[in-house]
Amino acid sequence: MNVSQGRSSVILLIFFSVGFIFLIRLFTIQVIDDSYKASADDNAIRKVTEYPARGLIYDRKGKLLVYNEPVYDLMIIPKQAKNTDTAQFCKLVRITSSEYADLFRKAKNYSQVKPSIFIKQLSVETYGTLQEVLFKFPGFYVQPRTLRKYPDPMAAHLFGYIGEVDTNITKKDPYYKEGDYIGKSGIEQSYEKVLRGKRGTRTMLVDVFNREKGSFHEGKFDTSAVAGQNLTLSLDATLQAYGEKLFQNKVGGVVAIDPSSGEILACVSSPGYDPNLLVGRMRTKNYATLLFEPTKPLFNRALMAYYPPGSTFKLINDLIAEQEGVLFPNTAYYCDGGYHMGSQTVKCDARHGSLTLQMAIAHSCNTYHCYVFRSTMDQKRFKTSEEGYLNWRNHVLTFGIGKRLFSDLPQELKGNVPSVDYYDRYFGKGRWKSSTVVSLSIGQGELGITPLQMANTMCIIANKGYYYVPHIVKAISDSAGISPHFMEKQYTDVQAKYYDIVIDGMESVVESGTAAGSKIKDIVVCGKTGTAQNPHGRDHSLFVGFAPKENPKIAIGIMVENGGWGSDWGAPIATLMIEKYLRDSISRPELEKRMFEGVVLPKIYMEERLKEDKKKQEKKDSLATKAIVAERKK
């Protein structure tokens, strides 16, 4: 019993020691240490968020493309806002007293004690006059924020835009608080974590006169904001601006990539818009306006619009056939103006006579390529057409077609290469064969390829068999570099030795073939024109290519909606951009002038434009007022 008596005392002793230690600790922080008592009755504590500057964005030559401009949010803590002279206040911030009441009620409903935004993004003048008298209005203070600014408006689709976080995001990611901004598309979205930096907080003491009396507890609990990291893009601003200028009054997209690295040099989607429109208080209003434009300027055609690749796709078919061992440089087929299957005929533009591969590419002979496709799909080793088709389709996928490339641009779409299932459903299982789907040989039918994918296939041919995943960011400040994902060679399953004859064919296309009108003196451009059938109107004009032939520096894919032949608009614009990039001067001023001035607006847009103009103006006005009211209410 004695032993256990001792043991119960030991246990009690331990209990009491801990209790005693707590009391000493509490005595220290509550009674001895004065520093915690800084919040006396007449002081209030205010937590001020320090918003970091978002990272800047430069082009590949170090030209500043995106920077920040300070703006000021007027904040309120309803509980501290007492005895406000509303008349004077409303006059200062230019709102009516009923608007004031609305805003105040809204802030109060959010929280009595937590700060919220009363008026977003005060103009510099309002801020200036308000700042001097703000001490008269306890509970109100000004929170500096920054807005994006684009000194040379371009590449709006690439940059994307920033918007306020919604509740979906604040629920998912604890970093974001109500009122925060987040990248919502483009680079701003895909590099959000890099660009945003790290928020800081200061706990300030504020006296009854609404004056900050200094940092609470000597700033011990403060954290400073860390600015976002800067991005250097692979984008060539000169080339981008040039591409956008060439595309004025035209609809479509062009992507240029450096094949040796996968770096995107230019990425134009037309029509574009001034990125400065989607910034600040006017964002909502302008966004609505852009959304209603019939030409859909918010739609990033370079990454999202896919069209049948037309004749540009013949190159891929040739490569696959070579790899399959059914096509050789000297393989000859006879063209009598079309490819005949029973009663049906795939027409050719001319009677080309007997052709070998290089000339078939140069003159874009449909007949020849129908034979090529058939020989690929109907090999003896395949028991069914499905098998032959599947084999062909798997080759196509390795060219980055029909699948996402996973570039660092978030809106990228995967295009389309029809699946076996699709044809089974469409024609019935076992009821289709090579002749049924022969339009694939000339890039028509259900195929869909985006300009980004078109440019990427040119990287593959320029590199003779591989590509780097296209990417727009070249370097990130304070960081080891971009993702290794962009450094790996992605191989196709066509061996390097098969590319030379196709490249020779592409050289002939520009030298003497379908794109001969777009030849550049002293630069050997390898290219291929294409025309995408358009059931809704005039065909789309396509061109793919790279240059120079030896040691290629730029690969390009372009699509001009309703532009007709590939040689009409696609090839001239693409070769002008190639020349601009490689030489920075243009040897063909007349062609350039013609391209600048050309208007290739789809008919439907033109009509709609006139019709809509009136309506739009009315809508614009009412939307504008609505947007302003909505903005204020926030």
């Binding site: 246990i11 009491f16 209790g19 600790r25 922080i29 509550q30 609990f221 403060d222």
Partner: protein, 420 residues
């Protein structure tokens, strides 16, 4: 000596009064911590204090029911209760999964039952039952192993729910085992292990190993004449190194990022006032700003302005510290100390071994919660989310502590009926 004055006659008033005081003060603090101008009614059921009022009503009913139940019941049903709660913990583990992986309750209608809270009570019963069995000796290895299993099983299941805090509570049972005859060395060993644990985090491993080796060498020169002692020293050095290694491994591979950060912040290795250190800093500001007498009821700014996180659950003590100052903190800690003393005192007067062991279990569980919870609000313990008994908002926690305590009160009231 038959019980003649009804159930309320023989109950220990000290414990009941302190229980009522703590629950009342807890409710007042919850009210103060979420009070704002819009919700002033004390029975607003959309607010935590309104809901807590319901929980308190329920807990009083539970307390009364326990006092009515026959005292024989508890010892007899110890094992079944234990098994039921082990099964419930398994159910939670299997059924109640969530994307976050940390869900530890079972929904029964709108009521959320948290088996991990009640499992403490069940474990205490089972342990008391086992150790009070005739001819059980603490010295036997078998006794030690079975005790460890009884305690360890629920702890491991709770750990698997990702609720490290609630699992750690089971360590408190070591005091019960000590009281029942486990060697005192285990406490000393535990203490040394804790010191080594902290050292592993603070001191580079090379330095630590040199120090351990150095101490071993010094001892070796003192006692080298006796062969047996040399073996003990060698074993000591080995065990110490093993602890260092395993702690290092656990910190880097077993603990999750946020837990690792919390420990580092506590030890001053990492300064991150906005991140992991945020809660503790805010809580220290709130308590420290209370001064000697506090700011007065509902006058706290820190806790009310949402600067303190989880102010009505894990950080409820901040409200006490801020609004009632050092005096209020002193009273609360004092009340807990008196309660602990009273439980030990009453446990020692039991004739039934079961009741005594059970009583010690109650004291140890309460003590552990108190130590970790208040320790974390004043920055002396890592931020491990376990509630302050009787104070913190939450039905499962309040009810489980009520049951834990009142079963003991009942066992004590019943002691006079046991004829041995």
């Amino acid at each position: 000596m038959r019980n003649q004055g009804g159930i309320l006659q023989n109950i220990d008033r000290w414990m009941v009064v302190i229980f009522l005081l703590l629950v009342a003060m807890g409710w007042v603090s919850i009210y103060a911590s979420v009070y704002n101008d819009e919700h002033q009614s004390i029975l607003d059921f959309s607010q935590n204090y309104g809901k807590q009022a319901i929980w308190i009503g329920g807990s009083l009913l539970i307390a009364l029911s326990i006092l009515i139940i026959d005292g024989k019941f508890f010892a007899a049903f110890s094992y079944p209760t234990y098994i039921i709660f082990i099964l419930l913990l398994l159910v939670v583990l299997v059924v109640a999964r969530d994307v976050k992986g940390a869900v530890s309750w079972i929904d029964i209608g709108s009521f959320k039952l948290q088996p991990s809270e009640f499992a403490k009570f069940a474990t205490n019963m089972a342990l008391a039952k086992f150790l009070s069995t005739l001819d059980i000796r603490m010295k036997d290895l078998k006794t030690k192993i079975v005790s460890l299993l009884i305690i360890g099983l629920p702890a491991v299941l709770i750990l698997l729910q990702n609720d490290t805090g609630s699992a750690l509570v089971y360590a408190a049972f070591v005091f019960v085992l000590y009281r029942e005859g486990l060697s005192g060395n285990i406490l000393i060993f535990g203490f040394l292990a804790a010191v080594l644990f902290v050292m592993t985090l603070l001191v580079p491993k090379i330095v630590l190993f040199s120090v351990i080796g150095g101490i071993g060498l010094v001892f070796y020169f003192f006692v080298r004449k006796k062969r047996q002692n040399i073996l003990i020293i060698a074993a000591g050095v080995l065990i110490a190194s093993a602890i260092v290694f395993s702690v290092d491994y656990a910190i880097n591979h077993v603990l999750q990022e946020h837990q690792r950060t919390r420990i580092n912040v506590l030890l001053g290795k990492e300064i991150d006032p906005k991140g992991a250190g945020y809660n503790v800093n805010q809580s220290k500001i709130a308590i420290g700003s209370g001064g000697v007498f506090g700011k007065g009821f509902l006058q706290g700014t820190q806790t009310k302005y949402d600067f303190v996180p989880e102010q009505s659950t894990d950080f409820i003590f901040c409200t006490v510290g801020e609004e009632w100052g050092f005096v209020g903190s002193f009273v609360v800690i004092g009340l807990f100390m008196i309660l602990l003393w009273r439980i030990i005192y009453v446990a020692e007067r039991q004739r039934s071994q079961y009741s005594r062991i059970y009583g010690y279990g109650v004291a140890c569980i309460l003590f552990f919660h108190l130590m970790v919870n208040i320790g974390m609000t004043v920055g002396l313990a890592p931020v491990i989310g376990i509630p302050l008994p009787f104070f913190s908002y939450g039905g499962s926690s309040l009810w489980s502590f009520t049951i834990l305590l009142f079963v003991f009160i009942k066992l004590d009231a019943y002691r006079l009926e046991i004829l041995r």
